[in-house]
């Protein structure tokens, strides 16, 4: 059977407990029709299909399933991840401060070239805001990643955020493919050399 898509990206949602990661990906099971059975066992991941520049992209999105309560997430969870949404709650200063811990955890466990994005969730609760939008932007600049304020509850920017992250991963993937198959007469880039050095240092989990 022919593949029905062009790209497959594995994405993770990471951040403190209670920042609304699960809401970003999953609806809460308050609905009357939701069977207790499903809400009891819980949802592991979802597959979503999006289209970007006429390319069909499958997103496999994982939630941490409460692992974050132990303040660390295992390497197994990061395996194969191409994109990570770092989520904090704009009404909880602590969750914002912890972003840098999460980034460290990612650097220690995930692939060095994983695409990251910062999300300030619950932006519908402006009156309870503890973290200004500027500080979010500033932190994102510091890490050289993109930033958005989202509201899973009011469906603000959630889809946009996933599209942005997916689009960045796609651009990166295509760039790499081009480098591996350079156009005729083109100069062969020594990508492997650069990458080895990169992942070598930042991937050692013993350091």
């Amino acid at each position: 059977m022919a593949k029905t898509y062009d790209y497959l990206f594995k994405l993770l949602l990471i951040g403190d407990s209670g920042v609304g990661k699960t809401c970003i990906l999953f609806r809460f099971s308050e609905d009357a029709f939701n069977t207790t059975f499903i809400s009891t066992i819980g949802i592991d991941f979802k597959i979503r299909t999006i289209e970007l520049d006429n390319k069909k992209i499958k997103l496999q999105i994982w939630d941490t399933a409460g692992q974050e309560r132990f303040r660390t997430i295992t390497t197994a969870y990061y395996r194969g991840a191409m994109g990570i949404m770092l989520v904090y709650d704009i009404t909880q200063e602590k969750s914002f401060e912890n972003i840098k811990n999460w980034i460290r955890n990612i650097e220690e466990n995930a692939a060095a070239d994983v695409e990251k994005m910062l999300l300030g969730n619950k932006c519908e609760l402006n009156d309870k805001r503890q973290v200004s939008k500027e500080r979010g932007e500033q932190l994102a600049i510091e890490y050289g990643i993109k930033f958005m304020e989202t509201s899973a509850k009011a469906s603000i920017n959630v889809e946009e955020a996933f599209l942005t992250l997916a689009s960045d991963i796609k651009a990166k993937t295509e760039k790499r493919m081009e480098a591996n198959n350079p156009p005729k007469g083109g100069h062969q880039l020594k990508l492997t050399e650069i990458r080895t050095k990169d992942s070598w240092l930042s991937r050692c989990s013993l350091l």
Partner: protein, 94 residues
């Protein structure tokens, strides 16, 4: 809004119980029914939108990615196959 992908699936007759309907009691015993008609999906990535539950006895249950209603079928970890119940989904012409 459901993920039926017109052709590519073959219809398979699988006799599997343990498909849970609305829960009414709080007892441990699950309310199940036997379903026989499934769409067999070899690769989970064939789905447009779908949710997977956590694993229970070697299987993950399939739910609607939007409303999370389910199970609409299950995924067998050993074979990596997905079985979508004909009875649990609505078929609409695209």
């Amino acid at each position: 809004m459901l993920k039926a992908k017109e052709a590519s699936y073959c219809e398979q007759e699988v006799n599997v119980p343990l498909m849970v309907q609305k829960k009414d009691s709080k007892s441990d015993s699950l309310n199940t029914e036997t379903l026989r008609h499934f769409w067999l999906v070899e690769d989970m990535m064939t789905f447009e939108n779908i949710g997977f539950s956590h694993t229970v006895d070697g299987r993950k249950f399939l739910v609607c990615a939007d409303c999370e209603r389910g199970p609409v079928g299950y995924h067998e970890l050993s074979t990596k196959r997905c079985y979508l119940s004909l009875k649990r989904v609505v078929h609409v012409d695209a």
